[in-house]
Amino acid sequence: MSEAIKMNRRSFVKTAAVASGGLVIGFHLPPLGNTAEAAMAGEGTELNAWVVVAPDNTITIRASQTELGQGPTMGNLMMFAEEMECDWADVTFEFATGRPEYTNPLVGLQLTGGSTATPGFWDVMRKAGAQARHMLIQAAAKKWGVDASQCTARNSMVMQGSNKATFGDLAMAAADETPPEDPKLKSPAEFKLIGHSVKRLDSLQKVTGTAIFGMDTFVDGMVVGVVKHAPWSGTIKSWDSAAAKAVDGVQDSFLIGQAVFPDNSSNALVVIADTYWQGVKGMKAANPQMDFGGWDNLDDDQILGAFKEGTNEAGKMGRAEGDVSAGLSSAAKVIEAEYHVPYISHSPLEPMNTVADYRGDFLEIWSPTQNAGAGYVVAAKISGLPQEKIHIHMTFAGGGFGRRVEVDYIEQAVEASMKVRKPVKIMWSREEDTQHNLNRPSYATKFTAGLDADGNPTTWKQTLAGPGIWLSPYRSTRLKNLFAGSDFMKGMQESGVDFHSVQGAKDIGYDFANMDIAWTQKDFPVPIVFFRGVGNTQNAFFIESFIDEIAHESGQDPYELRRKLLHKEPRMLAALNLAAEKSGWGNPLPAGRHRGIAFHNSFDSPFCDVIEISVRGGRRIKIHKITRAIDCGIIVNPDQLDSQFQSGVVWGLTMAMYSQLQVKNGAIVQSNFNNYRLLRIGQMPKFETHFVRNTESPSGIGEPVFHTIAPALTNAIFSATGRRIRSLPLKNHGFSLA
């Protein structure tokens, strides 16, 4: 830490910017309440990339992961504060981007996603926190003329005998200290913060309306750019720019979306106006005319037809064990079933937006993005500026769920600002957000299982057919451009199989002697990308439903069958057993009540749900209880985890009951929350959660929490009605929630 910076924060900002590829020439003062900038306003000393300590003992820890709601920010701050020995009451935070330290070690970019926020930063944050503590202790030891080993840090203070100093008192001197490269970290038994429920630090801002999200960003001289996108593989043929300009407040209209990655861009018309509503009116007047690029007739029948056909093709092999052909021909019984799911949308409640201010020699961006790392890359590519001349302010984000891993809205804002030479806030309406989302792909699958004479499945064959997020020639993730040619990219398309297509299928823990997992690539122009849980969202439903079919076909208890098949996976078995035990699986139920069970392992977290329902009139589902069990290793913040468990119930039920984007005439039919339904408060059932307690490193939470809800529900419906549900959503089968 010989380069430790010690100065007031104004000059810190400038120096840090030079050192790390950030800011700062003539930057706009941000609106009040923007946490990202709050720490820069006062006095303080930076001990390392993660922490600034003020003389009044306010400790500002930097959050490099986007706060999308799932709580990664809080978890990472706790991990840091645990080792630094902060009094939690002294801790505040700010978002930070652009320094190499902020790179997510599990991804290689400053990206929030893949349930990596806690596992990815578990060692990083604790080590950096411990180093900050060592620096403070060393400074105290020098001050008191004692040996550092005699000093201890606690509650934001260093103590030795009758000596006492706050971190704030010591910070200036501590910045000159060099901490150990590899400090010893606490054992779980020594944790004081980790494992305890700690309140979020962003609540006050969020409940008073002062938290600044992307859309809440205003900078001097800013105009608004309202966008309307061309059809997926089409173009905007023409528009009435004069009529648009005739609208009060409208300044300009032009096409954007061609600047980078021409094979992976969306074309859009942007209307530049003083305010959003003027832009909306301008867009109406512009009346853009669309060319569908020959895809005018694309619809669900064509897409699903191709997928179903694909499940009968050989496909590419994602995993092969034993001899499936021999296993099937010698089987006592062979069971087959076909399943499919539709395209679905993330629909974060804050639609896509970003502010960019291109000033020729500097580019400043405010974005509610999950991927500042990719944001820097695309912004540099479009503007021609080196990354040192770009700074991205990561704002609060009104949900993300994978959608904001993409940075198309950043590209649009940069392009528009370069064109008008003013700060531009790009704004998507809810309709644009729904109809031009990059979606969770639709998928079809076919299972064939061979059972032995005792009814045990020994052969398992699954063929999936659908588009590849990494391989599609149509619009999909930006990361395929960013990672082109890298080892990471090779891993995402090993043997020509799209990683996320078979995610949660190829890696199942069930033990079959013979096993084939194949994927047939069928791409269409409907844009696709990562969705909370990605491949697991469809594969957990497919697999857990078919396992249930096997259980019923072979006269076995669905829980007992899963137990047998998981015999080689003790951690998975423990989560399964815990859910069964806590739900009273096997105990008699009141008349009319039925249970369904589903298990899935994703992001290294085994998860099991048991759902108890009754069904009235064969159609109206009443959920009486959901029993949830997970093994996610060490729990950093139980309270945040509980929040994710309720979120998982809402996500699972929304997807199971309602989620469906239909394709007709080359476009999405649904447009807004009146026809793309989400669960409402009155439909929220009771649930309880149970943890497998251990001291394994923390594993994923944000994504695993909802995959087992849909199959547990449909398995319960089978138990109640004898109807096997082989496609989602349930509203298409006439079901509703009581």
Binding site: R200, M215, F218, S347, E350, G399, F673, M684
Partner: protein
């Protein structure tokens, strides 16, 4: 020129009269606590109190708010202290992404005004127009009961 009162302060605005109140609050008055989620009155993120009624501000054209008395999330607390519903949301650690939260709190404050101790069924009805995509419904319900107890 249209005059209206927002959080006790009078504003006279030279803004197109068909502009939805939501965008007047956000773009003209810079009161960004009121959120845009759908623009068609389906999500409740833009909820404000207008002349004592809970309204979706995306649904109200400015000319129909002329002379109105409006309270937004920024004006909900009084004398520098939080409204009991805001405090309950903090105490129950209710927020996730936070985008729906101002609308939820305005709807709950309005519900508790007329019904200080709502039952679960009354909560379901009173909050049926407020979406939370993160799915914080269990904690929102808990916060409502807590706020009701605190005000009792």
């Amino acid at each position: 020129m249209i005059t209206l009162t927002v959080n006790g302060k009078s504003h006279t605005l030279d803004v197109d009269p068909d502009t939805p109140l939501l965008w007047v609050l956000r773009d003209h008055l810079r009161l960004t606590g009121t959120k845009y989620g759908c623009g068609i009155g389906e999500c409740g993120a833009c909820g404000v109190i207008m002349n004592g009624d809970l309204v979706n501000s995306c649904d109200i054209e400015l000319e129909n708010a002329a002379g109105a008395d409006i309270t937004t999330i920024e004006g909900l607390g009084s004398g520098g202290s939080l409204h009991p519903v805001q405090q309950a949301f903090i105490d129950e650690d209710t927020t996730q992404c936070g985008w729906c939260i101002p609308g939820q709190i305005m709807a709950i404050a309005h519900l508790l005004d007329s019904n200080p101790e709502p039952t679960d069924a009354e909560i379901d009805l009173g909050l049926k127009d407020n979406l939370c995509r993160c799915g914080a419904y269990t904690r929102i319900r808990r916060a409502i009961h807590r706020a009701a107890r605190a005000s009792a």
